[in-house]
């Protein structure tokens, strides 16, 4: 039986349930903080109590997404300097964003090895699309992102000829038309 | 209390045929032409500012606060080799005899702020505080003429109170020209927009001029020099008072640290 809940509705007690997405605990009582249907998930391995979460009616995953530490984002490079690349975040954990969020990939966060030798110009170019992970809420202006994992890096880039390039290895991409190679920090597919 | 209000109002009304200098050479408020109004001041009047001063010259009253040297709020204004001096000049709505809605940043206030900024930029040892900002905020509580003069003098005291390093101590004084006579430190009754008035800020020890403003023109060059003389002598009178106050204040302060010798 699906139950409709709204913020403030009591949905259970801490002695019998664990709070999930859209549920918070106040004075040992589980209370909904989102509009939607209440879903009870059976305890999985290791857990003893079932989990309560709210499946929001409006969006696929609930509240509008916001970058958080650990989330994997798809972002577009807007500016490249010797110390960092600036990006605009487009998608978070597979969900497109409504609002503009800025990020920065600093020199030391581009790749895992030879951090000191990273040349940003050889890793990203403006208008590239990258997959990156949020590593901190950053400074006042931008979130700090990292591409220092094999599966992270450039996933889409255009060559000078304006054609989408094909990855050659983890640090080069090639234009299918001109056959010219360009340096990138390429994400492993 | 209101007698004071009455008096100034009725006099202001009959300004047309007013005699500014009496036959025995005294001014409306009984001062001699070279005499400065009564000055009272105190340092450290405010709790949150790094330095502050209250200053009263006749019925003109100002409060000045100094914040800094501190980290500039906007990155754009950072100077890497020196401190930036900023100044804001605002007047309370009840400051003048007639009720007038005043706004921060009107033309007159902006001009006054600029004069002060320039004068103090020259005297503060800005190179000692790179990448920082020093703010001087003026609040005029009552304006009976010479608000800028009072503000400059109060700002000097507030900077001393804040412990900001300066190459010299700035003192200001103004000179008006009424009935063919120079009068030092004119009150609002004695100053009018069409009458010449010289506002001078001097460095008290080196006797250099920090700022000089002339409103309306003087009859000739010679009288300009005379005006400068009057203003300088007025400034010296004022400096004596300020110097006494600063010494008194500093001594008190250093004495209360006497606990070390308990």
């Amino acid at each position: 039986m699906e139950k409709f809940v709204a913020p403030g509705d009591k949905v259970g007690e801490v002695r019998s349930y664990r709070p999930g997405h859209g549920v918070y605990v106040h004075n040992d009582i589980l209370i909904a903080s989102l509009v939607g249907t209440l879903i009870t998930e059976k305890p999985t391995n290791g857990e003893t109590m079932p989990l309560l979460r709210v499946s929001s009616s409006k969006y696929a995953g609930g509240a509008p997404p916001l970058p958080d530490i650990g989330s994997v984002v798809t972002a577009k490079i807007t500016k490249v300097t010797p110390r960092a690349a600036s990006v605009e975040i487009l998608v978070i954990d597979g969900r497109p964003l409504r609002e503009l969020f800025k990020g920065t990939i600093r020199q030391q966060d581009v790749r895992q090895t030879e951090i000191d030798k990273v040349e940003i110009y050889k890793c990203f170019a403006p208008s590239d699309v990258v997959r990156a992970e949020v590593i901190s809420l950053g400074d006042r202006h931008a979130y700090f992102l990292s591409t220092a994992k094999n599966e992270l890096g450039v996933i889409y880039a255009k060559s000078r000829a304006g054609v989408a390039m094909i990855p050659v290895n983890w640090q080069e991409m090639q234009c299918p038309v001109s056959k010219a190679r360009e340096f990138r920090k390429v994400a492993k597919q | 209390m209101p007698p004071a209000t009455k008096r100034s109002r009725s006099r202001g009304g009959g300004a047309g045929g007013l005699e500014y200098i009496s036959l025995d050479g005294l001014r409306i408020d009984g001062r001699r032409p070279t005499e400065v109004r009564k000055i009272r001041c105190s340092l450290g009047a405010l709790s949150r500012a790094d330095g502050s001063a209250y200053y009263e010259q006749g019925n003109t009253r100002v409060l000045v606060a100094v914040y800094g040297p501190r980290e500039p709020h906007s990155r754009a204004s950072i100077q890497h080799d020196r401190a930036v001096v900023k100044c804001e000049f605002s007047t309370a709505m009840f400051a003048s005899p007639v009720y007038r809605r005043t706004w921060k940043g009107d033309r007159k206030s902006t001009a006054a702020a600029l004069v002060m900024q320039k004068a103090f930029e020259g005297v503060i040892l800005t190179a000692s505080y790179p990448k920082s900002q020093i703010d001087i905020y003026v609040q005029v509580l009552q304006n009976d003429g010479g608000a800028l003069v009072a503000a400059i003098n109060a700002a000097s005291l507030a900077l001393v109170n804040a412990g900001v390093a300066m190459s010299d101590f700035v003192v200001a004084c103004s000179v008006g020209f009424v009935d063919d006579t120079f009068v030092v430190d004119p009150s609002s009754l004695e100053s009018a927009s069409d009458r010449p008035e010289l506002t001078l800020a001097v460095l008290s020890h080196s006797a250099k001029i920090a700022s000089c403003q002339l409103d309306s023109k003087l009859p000739d060059g010679e009288s300009f020099e005379r005006a400068l003389e009057f203003a300088t002598s007025g400034a010296n009178q004022i400096f004596k008072v300020l110097e006494y106050e600063v010494r008194k204040y500093s001594l008190n302060l250093l004495d209360s640290r006497g606990l070390v010798a308990l």
Partner: protein, 264 residues
């Protein structure tokens, strides 16, 4: 064009049909609410939106964000703007009362609009789980189209509905209600005429389930016992309104699900 679900609810409490309790708009109980009309999700450009009508008072509210916001605090900031439309019947009154000389150009907010905007921001800041949206700002704008009394309460209620509609996590649904002392009686949800005659009014925003007053605005002169009674009555009525908000959301959720079902 997307149309949100409609929800028309006529307030439930049935009249104590005594002539003595008859009110100027025909209501027959001191604690009777005016007919309420709620609608959510009608603006596709906003993250959440709501329209709220109580009698002749009509309010619009839109929520945008959370948006990236450079701020020194980690928690989300709720920013609110509240405006009374020129034709709402209220703005003109407040303007000239301030004294002719000081009236400002009509585009900028009046002191009262700024005050109530800040007040709404505090209320929503209280109910929103701001820690869930770091470094961001949630923007709420409300417009009173028509003011027939209890308009700020209507603004708070509409804002709560719009926030819920935007899918923003909140500790509770807050709803607001005005109570006024008219001819010595505490009446709930006063209309403009009653507000004018009132010796005092109090608006309370209340989280019905958590049991906390999130906002309080009192005007006029009131005895302290009377004030406490008015607050209590207001909170009870607000709890009732909370039920209406939830009903509207439930109805809307049903429609959304149905639509999805058809699509699939």
């Amino acid at each position: 064009m997307r149309y949100g679900p409609l929800c028309r609810v006529t307030a439930a409490p049935k009249p104590k049909t005594s002539e003595a309790h008859k009110r100027s708009d025909g209501r027959t109980g001191w604690e009777e609410l005016r007919p309420v009309f709620l609608k959510a999700s009608f603006l596709s450009s906003a993250a959440g939106s709501a329209y709220f009508e109580a009698g002749g008072t009509k309010v619009f509210c839109a929520v945008h964000g959370p948006r990236a916001w450079a701020s020194s605090s980690i928690d989300a900031v709720v920013h609110c703007e509240v405006r009374w439309a020129h034709f709402s019947g209220r703005r003109e009154e407040t303007r000239t009362a301030a004294g002719g000389e000081r009236s400002r150009p009509s585009e900028s907010a009046t002191d009262e609009e700024r005050e109530l905007g800040a007040s709404l921001a505090r209320t929503l800041g209280t109910v929103t789980r701001v820690e869930m949206y770091p470094k961001s700002r949630i923007e709420v704008s409300a417009l009173v189209l028509e003011d027939d009394g209890s308009s700020f309460a209507a603004v708070v209620t509409a804002a709560a509905l719009a926030m819920a509609d935007a899918g923003i996590e909140m500790a509770d649904l807050t709803a607001a209600m005005t109570a006024a002392v008219v001819d010595g009686n505490v009446v709930v949800d006063p209309n403009a005429e009653e507000e004018r005659r009132a010796s005092g009014t109090v608006m309370v925003a209340y989280m019905g389930n958590v049991g906390k007053v999130t906002d309080l605005v009192q005007t006029g002169e009131m005895e302290i016992g009377q004030l406490a009674h008015a607050i209590q009555t207001g909170c009870q009525a607000a709890t009732q309104v909370r039920g209406l908000i939830k009903a509207c959301l439930e109805k809307q959720a049903g429609k959304v699900l149905k639509k999805r079902g058809r699509g699939a």
